[in-house]
Amino acid sequence: MHDIEALFEAMRNAIPAGPVKIKEAVDSGKKVVGCYCAFTPYEVIRAAGAIPVSLCSTSDKPIAAGEEHLPRNLCPLIKSSYGFALTDTCPYFHFCDMVIGETTCDGKKKMYELLDRLRPTHVMQLPQTYFGVDALNVWQAEIESLARKLETALGVTITEDDLSREIKRRNEERRVMEDFYELSKLNPPLLSGQELHLVNEFFKISFGDPRALDMIRELRTKLQENWEAGERRVSAGKQRIVVTGCPTGKSLEKVFSAIEENGGVIVAFENCGGIKPNYEMVNEALPPYEALAVKYLGIPCSCMSPNPKRLDLLETLVDEYKANGVVDIILQACHTYNVESFLVRERITAQGGKGVSYISVETDYSQNDVEQLSTRMGAFMEMIA
């Protein structure tokens, strides 16, 4: 049997060490570009020779500071992102040369106006639909102007060859994650949802390092070999849950443990940190800017209207991962996911007669609803069983 714990431990330790890697890169003359959202085309930033990093946005700690400038009844993700920047407590923000934002929601686009004072912030105007050629043209133009902006800001030239190279590289990273997710299709899944989330978080701070990707591949192989040798990390008979909704992160691990401590196991994260931004590749046969526009505009975020792709994706995931239930996590004051939950419930519970159970939970980054979450998830599992 392989020692799986040692690999998880290495990943767990790599996460707090992420800022050190970035500091070293900065010291060696590398440029760092801060990102918040799955819509940011990493390929363009990398083609500019810079490192895209995901900025801190999921802790309760800086929210009070964020609320000095922002209204209280705003989503915690926005308040946390801004609070981190304001208090200079996010090492990734500290080291980044510029920030890229997208007009994904009202709160974010207005927050970016304030953020620009703390660090140059380039906001991409994201269309609110993935239908029609007009939206696609707008988004392609936005990606092209991001490239021009990066060229000026970083003093580099981005060629189409650079882009094609980075597209291939990022696609490979997506495939590594896709292959890894397959492990949870088995019954019982090869790892718990909390472990799966750890791998997602590790991927987030891998910064395209081939050794990090190798670790994910190695973990996959070893989990499979242990499985074949009879190891079962997750006991049979758990309720198989697909998690969807707002972006996940450290502060939302309370929901994952509420699910997994009450008889459930998370088999897939549809969220931004999981399958949603990775299940479609960038088409390597298309001209690079067009290919990037098609891929990124097609991310089924609730900011898109209408957003049938998310419902289709969820339906596919429920089917492929043989889920018994869907848990929709809504951050307080995230209107788009909150409103969309009605349609998600409708589709998930009906699903052409093959419907499964659905629950939505509204929460924020504080930890004082842990008991309530446990009751909700407990009751949900009792209901499915």
Partner: protein, 258 residues
């Protein structure tokens, strides 16, 4: 002394009141009790145990299921089950048919729809005291009456509304109304309407047009039931044992333990 082996005990430690039910081998209620939970769930669970023992029921020899907000504080329970499943079981026993259960608890408000006696879906208020029993308690305190007194006042009032969004804002609105010299009856009316609106919205999400059952401690208020029924445009029934519905459900589930 009872013959205990085939008894089933349900203990429901709510945030406001702690309840216990003991069923005999035929499923008949042998014993029931309700005490204030006070500041300690552990203390309330212990007090119920002592009272059961005084009545000749040996809890160590009996199958016990604990439920409610303080369900983990019942050391003599063989299993814990959430109050959602227990209320569903209990109400199905009391009513004998499917319905939508409304439980305005101290901590949470729950709306549970039953299908063939099982939970088909449920909703709870999220991380907020508005629309819960706690909200009513705070408001009753502000008006220096108890809960039933609040409803009695409300029945004679009218003409004022307050925000249904947030318990804290609502309280300051109430204080504003007191300051402006509004009659106590009118303020009580506004408080009740606020909770009825909030609860009806939760019910609406779970599907309208069927029979509702008011479970939990607030079943005693005829007025609340009447207003809910009017707002929901559907019958709202209850039962003298509604306060014990959670404990009863837990006791029934205890019968299914090995």
């Amino acid at each position: 002394m009872f013959f205990k082996k085939n008894f089933q005990i349900g203990v429901d430690i709510g945030s406001t009141a702690a309840k216990a039910i003991v069923l005999d081998e035929d499923g008949a209620i042998l014993y029931k009790a309700v005490i204030p939970t006070g500041w300690s769930s552990v203390g309330a669970a212990k007090e119920l145990r002592e009272d059961m023992e005084r009545s000749g029921i040996d809890v160590t020899e009996t199958r016990v299921v604990a439920t409610g907000y303080g369900r983990v504080s019942v050391p003599y329970a063989s299993k814990t089950v959430t109050e959602i499943s227990c209320h569903a079981q209990g109400v199905f026993r009391l009513l004998g048919r499917d319905c939508t259960v409304v439980d305005i608890g101290g901590q949470d408000t729950k709306v549970i729809s039953l299908s063939n006696g099982r939970v088909a879906g449920f909703l709870m208020n999220d991380k907020c005291a508005a629309g819960t029993g706690r909200f009513l308690e705070i408001m009753a305190n502000t008006l220096a009456v108890d809960l039933l007194g609040l409803f009695a006042l409300a029945e004679r009032g009218g003409g004022v509304t307050i925000s249904a969004m947030c318990a804290v804002f609502a309280e300051s609105e109430v204080i504003g109304l007191i300051g402006s010299g509004r009659a106590k009856e009118d303020i009580a009316f506004a408080i009740c309407e606020s909770i009825v609106t909030r609860v009806a919205a939760l019910c609406g999400k779970q599907g309208r047009g069927r029979e509702f059952f008011l479970s939990g401690g607030l079943y005693e208020s005829e007025y609340l039931r009447k207003r809910l029924s009017e707002r929901l445009q559907a019958p709202v029934t209850t039962d003298p044992l509604a306060r014990w519905a959670g404990a009863l459900g837990a006791a029934i589930l205890a019968g299914r333990l090995d």
